[in-house]
């Protein structure tokens, strides 16, 4: 499983500790909501699930998960074609992110 990292956040912050802390705080606040919305929708409304995945892709990228980002793209496309293929892998990505963000 790919490991989350803060490389993007660090590069963007470029030593600006205030911005880094603010960005992490925003991630910690926003991600759990998006996580819950995803699980509320999955298996019920594939269109809304695709929207959730689309939104979560940004945070997958922010945490440096390049392969996971590609998996999310495929999963989102599948959802738009009314298929749940890729669900299991995507949910492992979310778990991975959840644990990492909690420790930030």
């Amino acid at each position: 499983m790919e490991k989350c990292n803060t490389n993007y956040i660090d590069a963007l912050s470029d030593g600006n500790k205030v911005f880094r802390a603010k960005l992490i705080a925003t991630l910690k606040e926003e991600f759990p909501n998006e996580f819950v919305i995803y699980f509320d929708n999955v298996d019920k409304d594939l269109k809304k699930t695709a929207e959730s995945v689309h939104k979560l892709k940004h945070k997958i990228g922010i945490l440096g998960l390049e392969k996971s980002y590609d998996l999310a793209i495929i999963y989102e496309e599948n959802l738009r074609k009314h298929s749940l293929e890729g669900k299991e892998s995507f949910e492992l990505i979310l778990d991975n992110m959840y644990h990492f963000i909690n420790k930030l």
């Binding site: 993007y8 590069a11 606040e29 939104k55 590609d70």
Partner: protein, 237 residues
């Protein structure tokens, strides 16, 4: 340049605002989490530039553009790597940024935004063949000699530590410089950084595979983050 940010994701708004803060010419007036509030604001205020998320619930970025009579310059932001074509049906759209947005890519977007302003301002006053001449040439310093290179003959530039390898149609040159420095000297519409170690002349591309381009017999890697921009530049059938 007064600008606003429209994105339903707070993380994205925060990142774009931070990127803007590095540029004196950009003044972020406010940001909006939905398009409707932004439209109300735009109806009462004059803005030069909008960073606009395409994918928002209920009202998309394109819906917003359609509602504006005289849209300002717009830079689209998206999490769709494969997104490209639709954006250029609108004159007001100057570029699009794939999230997560890097500093380097953001800088290029500003170049594009500024360039359109600059070129419009100068079209009437400059006919200048002199400038065209300068635009077509680049002087490189090799062993204390300044050698003139025809920019259109450059095939690619490769970073090699403190040096760059300049491959042209006639000859290769190793120059003490950086990829960043030479990139600033080359026309943005012709040259593209496809990988952290490579700049290519897009007019010389022979073919493209998933993550590489063939250019004058050289197979050059294309990084994932640079691929969307490369694809955007192609005249795809």
């Amino acid at each position: 340049m007064n600008c606003i940010i429209i994105d339903d994701e707070e993380t994205a708004r925060s990142i774009i605002a931070h990127l803007c803060s590095s540029y004196d010419e950009l003044n972020v007036i406010c940001d909006f989490s939905n398009a409707l509030d932004a439209i109300k604001f735009l109806n009462k205020n004059e803005i030069d530039l909008i960073f606009l998320d395409i994918h928002m619930p209920d009202f998309t970025g394109f819906d917003l553009i359609e509602t504006l009579k005289n849209p300002p310059k717009i830079v689209l932001t998206t999490s769709d790597k494969n997104f490209a074509i639709d954006a250029y049906e609108y004159d007001c759209i100057k570029d699009y940024l794939v999230k997560p947005i890097t500093k380097e890519r953001f800088a290029k977007t500003l170049e594009k935004v500024n360039k359109t302003t600059f070129s419009k301002k100068n079209r009437a006053t400059h006919s200048s063949s002199d400038n065209n001449q300068k635009d077509n040439e680049l002087f490189i310093n090799i062993d204390r000699r300044l050698i003139k290179i025809d920019i259109s003959s450059i095939i690619l530039v490769e970073a090699k530590g403190d040096y760059i390898l300049l491959k042209t149609e006639g000859k290769n040159y190793t120059v003490h410089s950086s990829l960043k420095k030479i990139h600033e000297k080359l026309p943005v519409n012709l040259f593209l950084k496809v990988h952290r170690s490579y700049l290519i002349n897009t007019s010389k591309i022979v073919d493209i595979e998933d993550n590489s381009v063939l250019i004058d017999g050289n197979v050059i890697p294309v990084s994932r983050s640079n691929r969307p921009e490369l694809m955007r530049r192609l005249n795809l059938l």
